[in-house]
């Protein structure tokens, strides 16, 4: 296992900049998730680490050694692909053995390692089958096995779970995390699914437009998003955003929206004043919005849109002016469409963003 260091990586495709000055260090044994919407540059970045795509500029070092000029085969990495990329003309055993054969290991050792990997992943009975005779989950396991039995410096994973059905995905997620804990391997994991990133990674790099928007442990990304993009991308349902203007009334700092006014707490007041033009975006997660009856003394006037019970938790969709908000409650909730309600934000968990820059205040 080894540390992977990316320094000032740039990748241009003609006029399009796919990756824009990205630098990061993936520590030895660390599980880092690159997450972002499609086209954000995360897969390009991964392919550059693998050596499948050339850099426009910057350096990549694996285990302290610059690998820019090295072929993929000489970088000592393993990769798991979204479509598994199992060799269709080879049996499962041959698929597993291939990377070892390429490294010219003795036959006996290859057999032993293949058996061991098959045992770890519970695919022993499948060894003689062809990839197309396997289910998606089994193929996924074989692909993982092929990467695992090499003992490489780092694992690169490109959306390895996204072709699985929802149930299997959750199961494999746990299994992968467990494997990582056992093997203490360096993993770079690309996904568009923030939930996968949150649940599995030691640290997350949220990417958008070829730029790393924020990098940190999952809790930090969730609790302290750097900007509206990160705040809106991480968490499900997504964070509620409402634009508001700052106004000062008798020394009291208010956030004023379309037909409502919210007196801000002292801490929030100080942050609101830091906005460049007095233009804010308020952000609040669904767990920190309370939906109160119309007669309640506090809260902003809104209207009910729809109610979604999911069993343990109920999502209440409401409109504040023209803006949709989602609140969640663990208690049963009854209401009819367009019924007037009051929406109360928990000011200790209110995020303020500068509307011009999108940065957190």
């Amino acid at each position: 296992m080894a540390e992977v260091t990316l320094t000032d990586i740039v990748k241009d495709y003609g006029d399009v900049r796919a990756v824009d000055h990205v630098s990061m260090t993936i520590r030895d044994g660390e599980f880092v998730a690159l997450v972002g919407p499609s086209g954000c540059g995360k897969t390009t970045l991964l392919n550059m680490v693998a050596g499948l795509i050339e850099l426009t500029s910057g350096t990549i070092a694996i285990g302290g050694k610059v690998v820019n000029e090295l072929d993929p085969k000489d970088r000592d990495i393993a990769m798991v692909f979204q479509n598994y990329a199992l060799y269709p003309s080879k049996s499962v055993a041959e698929n597993l053995a291939f990377p070892l054969q390429m490294r010219k290991l003795p036959k006996a050792e290859i057999n032993e390692r293949v058996q061991r990997a098959a045992q770890t992943l519970g695919i022993e009975p499948l060894l003689q089958r062809r990839p197309r005779q396997l289910s998606g989950g089994q193929q996924q396991r074989v692909a993982l096995g092929r990467a695992l039995l090499r003992d490489p410096k780092a694992f690169l994973m490109d959306e390895p779970l996204s072709n699985l059905d929802a149930k299997l995905r959750v199961q494999m997620r746990a299994e992968l995390k467990r494997l990582h804990q056992e093997f203490q391997s360096t993993v770079i994991y690309v996904t568009h699914d923030q939930m996968e990133a949150m649940t599995m990674a030691d640290r997350i790099a949220v990417m958008s437009g070829g730029v790393v928007q924020q990098m940190g442990p999952p809790e930090e990304i969730y609790e302290h998003p750097a900007n509206t993009f990160v705040a809106g991308f991480v968490g499900s349902p997504a964070m509620n955003f409402v634009p508001a203007d700052v106004s000062v009334n008798n020394g009291l700092v208010m956030a004023r929206g379309d037909g409502w006014e919210l007196p801000l707490s002292p801490a929030n007041s100080a942050r609101a004043k830091a906005s460049s033009k007095g233009e804010l975006i308020l952000g609040v997660r669904h767990g920190h919005v309370r939906v109160l009856p119309e007669t309640a003394p506090t809260g902003l006037p809104g209207r009910l849109y729809t109610v979604e019970p999911t069993g343990d938790i109920t999502f209440v969709h409401a409109k504040l002016g023209e803006h949709f908000l989602v609140a969640s409650t663990s208690e049963p909730f009854r209401g009819t469409a367009d019924q007037p309600v009051r929406l109360e934000f928990d000011q200790d968990h209110l995020y303020l963003f500068d509307r011009t820059t999108g940065e957190t205040l």
């Binding site: 693998a50 050596g51 072929d71 060799y87 269709p88 291939f98 990839p131 197309r132």
Partner: protein, 300 residues
């Protein structure tokens, strides 16, 4: 629950009945059409075979005998015996055809594979124009190139050699071969090569060990196409070759039988022998073709 159960029970047999093949007028029409096509294709061949088993007299009999009453293999023996007047010449033609066709096929495949792979995988300047240029050759009738190619071959001092034909046939076969193989490579996910390269294979090894086996149906189809094209070609062989010992079968047969009057049974026997390699090759490789398709199913 009960209503659900009863509806299931009543709909099942109905559905099963629908699954049984029902013969529609369209089916009958298509069967008849296939039979007509089959007669069109097969009867001349059967007629050829039947005639080749007759003597000269029986062949010209009116009304014709569909099934020879005194079948004889004499024509085949004459053609294939290495001694005598006819045998050695015929076998020479056969060998010439074999050399030219096999060389054309082997070289054609050898050129088509890397060319198709490059067109499929690499983005290089002029790629689209080049690919189009490859296909342009197929937009003109073959005869158009006869004189230019002849002049070219003469300048290269290749007239009256195997090479004049091999090079010419290659240029005829290559456009389709490249085009067909490119389609095959396009369908093979690039991740397979990427995986192989990360697993420790060089670019060439990844191609050789992973992509080649998957594209074998395409390569076989390409090879069959190139071989048949070269085996049957007449006009260029007639123009480029004049030495008797180099003639290929199609031209050779022509020479052969204008010289020895019109020996129909002999001609038919020769034609039959000429079609054997193509048929055998096709039947033999078709099995591989199907196996390759089912076993190495390309699945993304």
């Amino acid at each position: 629950m009960t209503t659900l159960a009863t509806t299931v029970a009543t709909t099942r047999p109905a559905r099963r009945r629908r699954v049984l093949p029902r013969i529609t007028p369209l089916d009958i029409l298509s069967i008849v059409w296939v039979i007509v096509l089959l007669i069109f294709a097969v009867v001349p061949m059967l007629w050829m075979l039947s005639t080749s088993l007759k003597g000269q007299f029986a062949a010209l009999q009116q009304p014709p005998e569909w099934i020879p009453s005194h079948p004889t293999l004499q024509n085949y023996i004459t053609l294939l015996s290495p001694t005598g007047d006819v045998g050695p010449v015929f076998l020479r033609y056969f060998l010439n055809s074999l050399i030219v066709s096999l060389a054309t096929t082997a070289l054609g495949v050898l050129v088509a594979i890397p060319a198709a792979y490059a067109f499929s995988r690499f983005r290089f300047p002029g790629r689209d124009i080049l690919f189009f240029a490859v296909l342009v050759r197929n937009m003109f009738p073959v005869v158009v190139f006869l004189i230019p190619l002849f002049i070219l071959m003469r300048t290269l001092h290749l007239v009256n050699t195997y090479w004049s034909l091999i090079l010419t046939y290659m240029t005829f076969g290559l456009p389709l071969s490249i085009w067909l193989l490119k389609g095959f490579y396009d369908n093979i996910p690039e991740e397979l090569e990427r995986a192989a390269r990360i697993d420790g294979a060089s670019r060439f090894k990844a191609f050789w060990l992973i992509i080649m086996p998957l594209s074998s149906p395409g390569i076989i189809a390409t090879a069959i196409y190139a071989f048949i094209g070269a085996w049957n070609e007449y006009v260029y062989a007639l123009t480029f070759l004049n030495s008797e010992s180099l003639l290929t079968l199609p031209v050779g047969l022509q020479h052969f039988f204008t010289e020895f009057a019109t020996n129909w049974p002999g001609l038919m026997a020769a034609a039959f022998i000429m079609s054997v390699p193509v048929v055998v090759l096709f039947l033999l490789l078709q099995r591989h073709f199907v196996r390759a398709l089912t076993e190495g199913a390309i699945k993304a």
